[in-house]
Subunit: 366 residues, 2 copies
C-alpha cells in the first residue's frame, strides 16, 4: 500500500545508516549506577538502551525500536506482533484508572501502534508480601473488565511474591501478541519529509492525574487519566489513511520524546506548532504550577500518527469521527533538516528545539 | 500421532468435568493478605490461582494450566506458543548461574514443555534506583550468552526504574513465543492410567544452590544450579516418543508439585518410586540438614515426561543419549486411583501421599 519502499530504498538505507552512526557516536553509557531517569522514557532511558541493551541484545527486530516487534514465526505465513511492558505506577489507583487497567491498555496500545489487531496477553504479577488481597482482587477485576472491553484474552500468567520491603505493593508485566494484516507496514523509519503529524487528542492528562493523586494535590477541576485501548481508533485510522507511515503512543517522556524518537529513527526533522497541540486548560495550569512541559508528560490513551500529506485530511477526519479521537489535531510536519531534531514553533513566531525528556520529574507514572 | 483423543473423548471430558468440579469446591481464597507462600508455586499459589485469578481471567487457554498457551492467531495457520515468567531470585548470582541466565532458560523451557520450538523472547527489566551499572551489565551479558546458546532472539523490551527501597536490585520478566509443529499436542490432560513417568536427571540442584548461596552456607561439595535450556532435549524426546502425553519442568514447588498438578489436571493418580528418583548425595545431605524434601525443591534444567508405556523405553533412551538427560530415570506410572493424588512408594515397601509444597521454605528461588 505504501509505495515509497521501492522508490527510495537507497535513500532509506543511507538514512538508516546515518541514524545508526549518529547513535553509535552519541550514546556512551557513563553512569555507574541506575537512576530514576533511566526509567523516565527520556534521554537517560535512550542512553541505557543505546549504550548497553541494544549493543548486547541487538538484532534486526530490536534495532527498529518500534513499540512492538513484527515476527513471522511460521516462515512468513501470517505476521505476529509481540510486545512487553512492566507497570510500576504509584499510587496503584488514580483518577480515571489503576495499575490493572493501565497494564491492559498499555500493551494493547503497543500492539495497536504496530498496526496489529491485539489478541492475547500474558500477565506476570510481582507482589509484595502483605499486600491486601482486597487490593489484588480490585486490580484483577479491573484487568478483567479491561480485557473484556478491549476484546483480548489473558492466556498465560505467572505470580511471584517477594518479602515485605522488597517491592512496592505490586508490579505487573503484560506482554501481548497480535496479528498484522498483510498490507500494513508501519515503522518510524518509513517517515519522510513532507509527511504530516497528527495527535489524537489532549495531551498530558495521564501523567498529571497520577502526579496529583500521588502528591495529594487538590485542583479545582479534577484531571482524569486518559487510559484507553486505542486499537479500534487505529483500525479506523488505517482504513481511512492506508499510507500511514507510523503510529506511536506518547507514554513515558510524552509527545516531545516520541517526536524525537521519530526524528532520530527516520533521520528527519519534525516541525510542530505549539498552539495546535491540544492541552486541557486544567492540565496546562497544573503544568505551570509544577514547572513541567505538558509535552513531556505521559499519555495512555493518545496516539501520534505520521501520514503522507495527501491522506492527512482523511486521517484527521477518521480520528475525529471516533470518540477517542474527537479532539484530534494536525500539529506539524516532517522536514528534511535539522536531521534528528524536533523544532517547536511558538505562538509569537519564534521557534525552539524541543528535546526529549531529561531527568525524571514524574517517576513511576506507568 | 496420539490416538486417544478420538478413543476416549467422553471419558476425557468426564474427567475434565470432575477435575473442574473438584477445583471449584476445593479452592476458596480465605487469605486477607498476600504471603510468601502465594509465590512458592505450591498449594498457596494454586489457591490464589483457583480462588482469584482463574475465575477472573479464566478462558479455554488459561484453564488448561499448561506451561504455555497454544494459540492460532492466524485462524489456524501455524500454531504459536506464548508464555511468561518473572524472575526475582535472590541473590542475583549463584553457583551455576544468575538471574539473567535463569530468565532466558526458564522461558525457553516453558515453551519447550509445550512442545514448541522457542524463537523470540521479550525482556522487561524492573530496576532499583542505585543498582550498580556493572551488575546490570553482567546480567545483560549473561542473557546475551544464554539467548545465543539457545538460538533465540530478544525482540522487544521495556525498562522501568523504581526508587531505592521499592524493589530489590532487579527483577526480570521474560515472555516467549515459539512455534508448535502440527503433529504435537501436549497437555497434562492427555495423561491416562498406564502411562509412565520419566525424569530427565538429578532433582533439587537449582533450589539448593540458590539456598546455600543466599545463606552463605558452606558444604564440602559445591552444588551448582542445573539451569539449562531444554528445547533440544525435548525435540529429541518427542522424535523418539511421539506419543508423549505431556512435559513439565519441575521449577517452583519441585517434582512433587508438578506431579500433583498432573494428577489434578488429568484426574488420575500418580505412583512414583522414591528410590528411583535421582538425587545427588550432596543435595540429599543438604536437604537432611535443612529439613527439606528434595522433591519440593526447584529445578531449572530438568523435565518430567509422561509417555505411553510402549514408548517409555524409547523415551528413556532418547533422554539418556543427550548430555542434559544422561541421568534420566523411569520413576513411576499413572494410575486410576486415588484420583488427583500422588503416591510415593518408599524403600521399605511402604507408601505415602506426596503433597504439593505447602508454605515456602525457599522463597525467591527463581
Amino acid at each position: 500500500m505504501t509505495t515509497r519502499t521501492e522508490a527510495s530504498l537507497p535513500a532509506q538505507l543511507a538514512r538508516m545508516e546515518r541514524a545508526l552512526q549518529a547513535r553509535r557516536t552519541r550514546f556512551v553509557l557513563k553512569d555507574e549506577h541506575v537512576t530514576l531517569s533511566h526509567g523516565s522514557g527520556g534521554k537517560a532511558t535512550h542512553n541505557l538502551l543505546e549504550g548497553l541493551l541494544l549493543p548486547a541484545f541487538g538484532n534486526a527486530f530490536l534495532d527498529l525500536q518500534d513499540d512492538a516487534a513484527i515476527l513471522a514465526p511460521n516462515g512468513g505465513r501470517g505476521r505476529v506482533a509481540f510486545t512487553t511492558d512492566s507497570y510500576v505506577v504509584s499510587p496503584l489507583f488514580f483518577p480515571g484508572g489503576d495499575i490493572g487497567k493501565l497494564a491492559v491498555h498499555g500493551t494493547v496500545n503497543d500492539l495497536a501502534m504496530a498496526g496489529a489487531e491485539p489478541l492475547y496477553l500474558s500477565v506476570g504479577l510481582i507482589l509484595e508480601e502483605g499486600l491486601e488481597m482486597a487490593v489484588l482482587r480490585q486490580v484483577v477485576d479491573s484487568m478483567t473488565a479491561a480485557v473484556a472491553e478491549a476484546g483480548v484474552q489473558i492466556v498465560t500468567g505467572d505470580t511471584k511474591v517477594v518479602p515485605r520491603g522488597k517491592a512496592d505493593r505490586m508490579f505487573i508485566n503484560t506482554s501481548g501478541v497480535g496479528v498484522v494484516r498483510d498490507w500494513i507496514h508501519l515503522s518510524q523509519r518509513n517517515v519522510v519529509p513532507g509527511d504530516r503529524v497528527l495527535v489524537s487528542g489532549n495531551v498530558g492528562d495521564h501523567g498529571m492525574a497520577v502526579m496529583l493523586a500521588r502528591e495529594a494535590l487538590e485542583l479545582e477541576a479534577e484531571i482524569l487519566s486518559d487510559t484507553a485501548p486505542l486499537h479500534m481508533l487505529t483500525a479506523a485510522l488505517l482504513a481511512a489513511a492506508p499510507g500511514t507511515r507510523c503510529l506511536k503512543d506518547p507514554t513515558r517522556g510524552g509527545v516531545a520524546t516520541s517526536l524525537n524518537e521519530i526524528a532520530q529513527q527516520a533521520g528527519v526533522g519534525v516541525s510542530v506548532d505549539e498552539e495546535r497541540i491540544p492541552v486541557r486548560p486544567e492540565v496546562r495550569a497544573a503544568c505551570e504550577i509544577l514547572g513541567i512541559d505538558p509535552l513531556h508528560i505521559a499519555n495512555e490513551g493518545k496516539l501520534l500518527a505520521v501520514v503522507p500529506p495527501e491522506q492527512a485530511g482523511a486521517a484527521l477526519a477518521a480520528l475525529r469521527a471516533h470518540p477517542l479521537g474527537r479532539d484530534a489535531a494536525l500539529i506539524g510536519e516532517i522536514i528534511a533538516e535539522p536531521e534528528g531534531m524536533v523544532v517547536l514553533r511558538t505562538g509569537v513566531g519564534g521557534a525552539r528545539v524541543l528535546d526529549m525528556l531529561v531527568g525524571d520529574p514524574l517517576p513511576r507514572i506507568c
